[in-house]
């Protein structure tokens, strides 16, 4: 039995055709980056030596990896044999180190760096977002097989041809076919500012917030993604699939850069490749794990890259919002109130309190102004990517934290838009929990009120 509904395009046409489109996304907020600095207590070096750990982590985060670690200017080692980019900062760059996709896509240069011979997929463009690609389904006899869900990352590039790749010769995935058959989805990097605060929110606090938010008249429910062994709430990544920053870093190091590490200890083949012969021996060039604890180091020099990345992200301060830009203080304040009134704050919880932290005082009992409940919600057919991660189904996503939205270039999980208004519009489709709020935003608010909300979001 199917439900009779108005086709989406017609519906949107009918619904919004009479709207005043004067309201516009003010665009990326200019001025100095409101992010990228260490937490206040870290900057004050409390506890002693923590600032050195932050700086060491930041250095590692910016290091470019090669396969061997012997290429000039690319002292990190372990790249590939499959990868999306060659450093953390390449993708986490906007508006500062630790952020998200920058204006110029580094994946263009990554394709041929150091002699690599990769074809740049059609969805990677110089001014487009940094993207990782996933095939929702495996191919069987050349067609996507809906009975064989995949969903794993298909790395864009291989090290084949690089000056330090030896005789490794492997192919890129079939991106052109995947595009032609709609069997590819994309993810852009999530910004990491303030993530130590997110990591330090007690589960009981999240559950209490979820319970309080159930008392809404917008049709919003939500649930938490949970870790498969411990059953505890997971909270990082587009589907809240990762438990901790260290897991987040370790997985990204392996998946995005191909560096086997102490959390993910073997080189990673593609999902289908891994179910067959795996990677050729000639492509497993380095001893594994490639990133390990530095036994000869002292203090922060002991950290593996993975731990250093996690420490850097953990100690990064949250973005600092503007109180006046864009649109002025009155508009921003009004927009903030409207944002709550029309139901956006039901999922995009403005503030959640952290618990006591052993790391540093700034993480302890602090207000995390993240604008997220860290729950996963059904977002409907428009945003569905047909990838399941943990308990999140094909259309479920973590409520994206909005802190720092003012200085982000690309929005939504696949970076499909630079326009905040379009991002809000994409919340509205069959099966979405955000439909009612979205309808109220577009139907019931005046153009001036909508503009205030957009100004508020760009102030964050």
């Amino acid at each position: 039995m199917t439900r009779r509904v108005v086709p989406l395009a017609l519906l949107l046409c009918l619904t919004f055709s009479l709207q005043d489109f004067a309201q516009t996304d003010p665009g990326v907020r200019g001025g100095a980056p409101g992010a990228g600095q260490p937490l206040a207590s870290v900057a004050a070096n409390n506890p002693a030596n923590i600032l050195n750990f932050f700086n060491a982590g930041k250095d590692d985060f910016q290091e470019i990896d090669s396969v061997s670690g012997t290429v000039a200017g690319e002292e990190g080692s372990g790249l590939g044999p499959r990868y999306n980019s060659r450093s953390c900062v390449a993708c986490h760059a906007q508006p500062a180190v630790g952020g998200t996709a920058p204006a110029v896509n580094p994946e263009i240069a990554d394709a041929t760096a150091d002699g690599a011979r990769n074809t740049i997929p059609s969805f990677i463009t110089v001014n487009g977002p940094v993207r990782e690609a996933r095939f929702p389904f495996f191919f069987t006899n050349g067609v996507p097989d809906v009975n064989r869900p995949n969903g794993g990352v298909e790395d864009l590039y291989t090290i084949t041809g690089r000056i330090d790749a030896g005789s490794c010769t492997i192919s890129q995935p079939s991106f052109a076919t995947a595009v032609a058959t709609n069997n590819v989805i994309f993810r852009i990097p999530t910004p990491t500012f303030g993530s130590g605060l997110i990591e330090n929110i007690e589960e009981s606090t999240l559950l209490a917030n979820a319970a309080a938010n159930l008392n809404n008249n917008f049709g919003v429910t939500g649930t938490f993604n949970r870790e498969g062994n411990t059953g505890t709430i997971t909270r990082f990544g587009w589907k809240a699939q990762n438990k901790s920053l260290e897991i987040f870093a370790g997985e990204a190091y392996l998946v995005e850069m191909g560096v086997a590490n102490e959390l993910f200890t073997q080189e990673r083949p593609l999902p289908g490749e891994g179910m067959n012969q795996g990677l050729p021996a000639a492509c497993k060039i380095n001893p594994t794990p490639e990133d390990i604890t530095h036994f000869d180091g002292v203090s922060e020099g002991v950290m593996s890259d993975t731990v250093a990345f996690a420490m850097f992200m953990r100690l990064l301060a949250p973005p600092t919002p503007s109180t006046t830009t864009p649109g002025g203080a009155t508009s921003i304040a009004n927009g903030r109130n409207l944002f709550s009134a029309v139901g956006c704050a039901t999922c995009h919880t403005p503030t959640i309190r952290t618990t006591a932290s052993k790391f540093t005082p700034s993480l302890s009992n602090a207000n995390a102004n993240l604008f997220s409940d860290l729950e996963i919600h059904h977002m409907g057919t428009e945003l569905a990517d047909n990838v399941s991660q943990g308990g999140a189904g094909g259309d479920e996503f973590r409520t994206a934290p909005l802190w720092g939205a003012g200085q982000r270039i690309f929005f939504l999980h696949d970076g499909r838009t630079r326009n905040l208004r379009n991002a809000i519009l994409a919340h509205n489709s069959p099966g979405s929990e955000a439909n009612t709020s979205s309808f109220i935003f577009f139907n019931n608010l005046s153009a001036a009120q909508q503009q205030d909300v957009l100004n508020f979001l760009r102030s964050l």
Partner: protein, 342 residues
């Protein structure tokens, strides 16, 4: 035999996809034969459908196709009809159904319908109508009926709203409803909430807009509704043509035989389930409100074997409907209400 939402469209799209393969533009050919594995595919190929959720998370299912389900309400010929609830609601003139809501939640929440003004709508300001339901067996609030639910909402109203009308019982279409109004001054928006209870579900009509005259008119239109005799702000416990609904009937003292589902996959999601027990104590219907398919299969198979003591009301055995929560409650514990559902 399980019923799955949206399954038929998926099969249709898949069939079209398998039939309708076509040539596509060529990518630079690889230097070697394609290796094995699903990451590599030759061309040509067909297309996956767009706008279809093919990979589901937790979703509803049922043990049979004949028994109506709460989430199956539909708008047809401008009338919202819900066979499970025994409810018909003619849409107000110049209003239309928007889009489907999400699947039922793991706390027993339903978005039944969302209405927006149609192209023929003439008023200067618009509005929104949300029709939702909350299964009172799994409610998060300490509420035993619709009136208590609305009172809870009022007591926990966010600070950026102001109460315009405290929860009050009103009569709509010959049945009692709890009405609660509040306003956001900054948005100049009013929310008029009307709730009643049917089969132990609180049914809410939420009218949102700036134009209070329009909102009152929408409430007036509700008088064209038809509801079952049991419907009421403090009643709504089934009976008549429906089973009697009794919370916590699946207790050891009422169960003569049970077998527990044995799961293949360890999961941590709450799984709310409604069952209908016939007059002899056999489970005749299982509605898994939210579960992964593997969970739903195991739970349904097990529950269909359960045997209960027949439920007796006024000296006669009657069909009874009750709820069981499998898995985690996600840390949200319902507080006993002042009015017990049983």
């Amino acid at each position: 035999m399980f019923r799955r939402e949206f399954l038929q469209p998926v099969f249709l799209c898949l069939s079209l996809f398998l039939i309708g393969s076509r040539n596509v533009a060529a990518q630079t050919p690889p230097e070697q034969a394609l290796p094995n594995g699903g990451d590599f595919a030759p061309m040509p190929a067909g297309k996956l459908p767009t706008g279809v959720i093919l990979v589901k998370g937790a979703e509803p299912s049922a043990s049979d196709r004949a028994t109506p389900l709460p989430e199956e309400g539909r708008v047809a010929r401008n009338v919202y009809q819900n066979r499970y609830l025994g409810l018909t609601y003619p849409l107000p003139p110049d209003w239309m159904e928007a889009v489907q809501g999400p699947p039922p939640s793991d706390r027993g929440g339903y978005v039944l319908a969302q209405l927006i003004p149609a192209a023929t709508f003439k008023r200067p300001t618009k509005g929104t109508v949300l029709i939702s339901a909350q299964d009172m067996f799994f409610v998060h609030a300490p509420a035993g009926n619709a009136l208590e639910m609305i009172k809870f909402s009022k007591e926990h109203l966010q600070p950026y709203y102001e109460v315009e009308r405290s929860p009050t019982e009103v009569t709509i279409a010959g049945h009692s409803f709890a009405r609660f109004d509040y306003v956001s001054h900054v948005a100049q928006l009013h929310w008029y909430v009307l709730a009643t209870q049917i089969r132990c579900h609180t049914i809410q009509f939420v009218f949102t807009g700036q134009d209070v005259e329009m909102l009152e008119s929408l409430i007036g239109d509700m008088n064209r509704m038809t509801l079952p005799a049991e419907a009421g702000a403090t009643s709504g416990r089934g009976g008549g043509d429906s089973p009697v609904c009794v919370q916590n009937y699946a207790l050891a003292k009422n169960i003569e035989y049970r077998t527990d589902p044995i799961f293949d996959v360890r999961r941590f999601n709450p799984v709310p389930v409604r069952i209908v027990i016939d007059k002899k104590g056999a489970v005749r219907h299982v509605h898994v409100i939210s579960a992964f398919s593997d969970q739903a299969t195991k739970i349904t198979e097990a529950l269909l074997q359960w045997k209960f003591k027949p439920y007796v009301q006024d000296g006669k055995a009657v069909e009874v409907e009750t709820g069981i929560m499998f898995g985690s409650r996600d840390g949200i514990t319902a507080i006993p209400s002042s009015t017990s559902l049983d």
